[in-house]
Symmetry: C3
Subunit: 350 residues, 3 copies
């Protein structure tokens, strides 16, 4: 792709082209980070990059750059150098769009691999690709242009919408429902049975888990993540919610739209997560807790009670992030604090 | 199922029917939570439910209710309304039994799917179901009425008892042994090799892991969970122990009977867990630690040393739960505490 | 194996044979721990074993022992007993070598199982074993003597070196590269897409993940672990680095040589891990953080900023281990500390 072509493409996108400089009009063949890019490669700098990243501009071998507008320091550097560049309101979005242009996703072969096993009364839409050794249970529906990779197991009575991408060896249990344009990464498990056991004098009595899991459209589920179905009713993942690897979503959880849950997050049964909630890595949410819209929890936070919308929280049990930072700074001083009290005590005892 | 039939069924169960009211004798078609139930649905309220749940009774559309005996507030509400109800010593057990009646588990087709690959000298009991693309290694035994879903891989010389339910794409390694009535959920790994490496001047020397994993009867293992085999001897999961999703059980761990381990718990090699131990989500147990019978650890607890039977613990390192609650409450005050000391110091210096 | 034969074998190994006693020259058939060993079994005691383990020597039924040299207490015990023994500089390495002798790994059948599906232009080296229901994508290379167990899915354009061992139902994504002698345990996912989404006014814009994952030689990846590919460039796991079960390695992470990461560790995108780093269970590393060579982090540590080489750290946020131990000891006293301050305040107010 010629640089001029990229400029025209980005103008039609969402990244807000502010200005650009075309000098050599290089051919862009691929993309790389600033320190690793070579000739015919494009790189980017995000808004508010730290100084050490900005200084990499001076030595970068990239042929073209996507840069934040309104950064005098960056403009000054690049004006002394011979890059072709584009200034953007959102350089990171521009980089994502550029990768889409440079690396269009390969079409999988349409059709059903001869080793796949398809149950009875399965409805398969046009343009669907079903890979080797896939198993599809009875009465399941698969929408148009959905791609199912090798080794996937879909149980009975599952509804899969259009343009879903389901990676190898993942499992989707009976009754589950996927909207459109979802991505299920490898070895994820959707709709496995919730963990419900009632203590009795004879040991655990299993609470049957006869509910279902619903993934709205544009949900993505990471490799090895597990989303359980409830005893009755539904576990619901809201539209455009993105779930990283090895995340556990318990039975009967509901999440709003546009959430992001980083790797190894665990959400216990019945918790209600609002819209736009962001949970960093290894966060835990206790059962039946309500987490308000746009709450942000930093890594390893333990949320054990309801959190109001918009809060930024940390620690276990979760407290406001700023308070937690000050408490943590003082935690390190606990031996000194204890010593100071012993000394004050002694003085007062005199 | 007619309501009267349900009453008779529950009388034969473990939930302790105390009283019931039959007025409309509705047909019960399904079950739902109190706020979502509609006509011809049954719902329940557990013992010691909070007031906001009890108040849902006033607006619930359910046709029948399972309720705790001896709760005057509840009795008063329902006597003003037209539900048919059953009062029970254990309404949650009654609800579990009711789900069993309403949703009898579907029988899988008996027999071996033609795409399954069965090794040499495999013994398969009567009534066994083996799904599509399953692989069973040589010299393995599968007991009567066990169900193995699509994509499961069983290595060599595995012993699987009767009435086990093994979900899709899970893996059971050589030499492992399962009792009867176990449930292995999707993508779980039983008997993978333990993590053992000895540092040498040439890098890590692998400690061979030639032991096995034994699951006693009625063990359940969650989706994506992993139970490792040890270098020598056995990893043993005691009867009726229930393990949630994404749990790691290290090599040589032993657990007692009737334990429950919530999602993302990790138990390091050689730990000994007693009977009836309950570990909440994301708890960690260090290697070779002994956790006594009936210990309860709240979420994210880190158990780094032996714990006596019956203790309720929290925090990292684990301390008694009540102490931890008070310490956590004071953790939030650390900035104030530090400030108070500075002030006292200044006063004393005068 | 006769005991005399074992002595000769160990002399050729790395464990440093210092002395030995041959009295009965027993046949060694298997190995077991000191408390469980029976006749014709060998057991070992490691250097610096605690007294309760050493005392097990007095009652052990083992026929032969691997023991640390230079431990007068042990020598005295065993001289009163009738074991045949070998004294070693590294008894644990000797035990690992002994297990290698006693339990030589079974050769898998060479060749491609007839149920495996092999893509176009796949290069398969001599002595390769490919199990049942495996799928290998187009343009993939598999080096000599590599063993691929049942149900594994390898996408397109993957390079797999020689003598790799790939366990059941694991998944290796397009473009990934494995060196020689790696072990991929069951249900692991190598090269799944990184978790990258950019917020826009229309919801999340996906950052395409077009990079690859490179595992150098002798890397081991535990059951259910996930290693993501980055948007551009590589995720690299250094030679001889060992990764336990359910570990998450984010997109663009690099690790050095000879690291060990215990179960449920999570490393966020772009983190740089040095050589010989040891991370205990459930440790988290924040994105883009640098962890210096030979850093050791105890369990549940949260590493949120760069750590210098050689440090031993604990806690969240991570602080020096010794400081953390003292702080944790004082954390338990927070209620007393708060009370002491209230009392001092009152005294001072008088």
């Amino acid at each position: 792709m010629q640089f001029t072509e990229l400029v025209e493409n980005l103008k039609r996108g969402q990244s807000g082209v502010v200005d650009f400089k075309i000098e050599k009009n290089p051919v862009i063949l691929s993309a790389a980070s600033l320190d690793k890019a070579n000739e015919n490669e494009i790189s980017f700098l995000d808004k508010n990059s730290p100084l050490n990243l900005k200084n990499l501009l001076k030595t970068s071998q990239a042929s073209a750059l996507l840069l934040p507008a309104n950064d005098a320091f960056i403009i000054e550097i690049v004006n002394q150098l011979s890059f072709d560049w584009i200034l953007l309101k959102e350089p990171k979005i521009a980089f994502a769009e550029t990768l889409d242009f440079l690396y269009p996703s390969e079409r999988e072969r349409e059709g059903i691999h001869k080793s796949a096993v398809i149950g009875e009364n399965v409805k398969i839409g046009p343009g669907v690709s079903i890979g080797a050794n896939v198993y599809i249970g009875d009465d399941t529906e698969i929408g148009a242009e959905t791609i199912i990779h090798a080794g996937v197991v879909v149980y009975k009575k599952v509804k899969i919408g259009a343009k879903n991408l389901i990676h190898a060896n993942s499992v989707i249990h009976s009754g589950s429902s996927l909207g459109d344009e979802c991505v299920i990464n490898s070895n994820a498990v959707i709709g496995g049975e919730g963990f419900g056991f009632v203590p009795t004098s004879n040991g655990w009595k299993k609470m049957p888990q006869v509910g279902i899991v619903i993934l709205k459209s544009k949900v993505e589920v990471g490799s090895g993540s597990t989303i359980d179905r409830p005893s009755v009713g539904e576990t619901i993942i809201g539209e455009d919610t993105k779930i990283d690897n090895l995340v556990q979503i318990g039975h009967g959880v509901t999440t709003g739209r546009g959430c992001a849950m980083a790797a190894q997050v665990g959400i216990a049964g019945g918790a209600e997560i609002g819209d736009g909630v962001i949970l960093a890595g290894q966060v835990g949410v206790s059962n039946k807790v309500r987490v308000g819209d746009r709450v942000i929890a930093s890594s390893k936070t333990g949320i054990v009670s309801n959190i109001e919308a918009g809060k930024v929280i940390s620690g276990f049990p979760a407290i406001p992030n700023k308070l937690w930072l000050r408490c943590s700074a003082n935690f390190k001083k606990l031996p000194e604090i204890a010593k100071a009290i012993r000394q004050l005590d002694r003085k007062n005892a005199r």
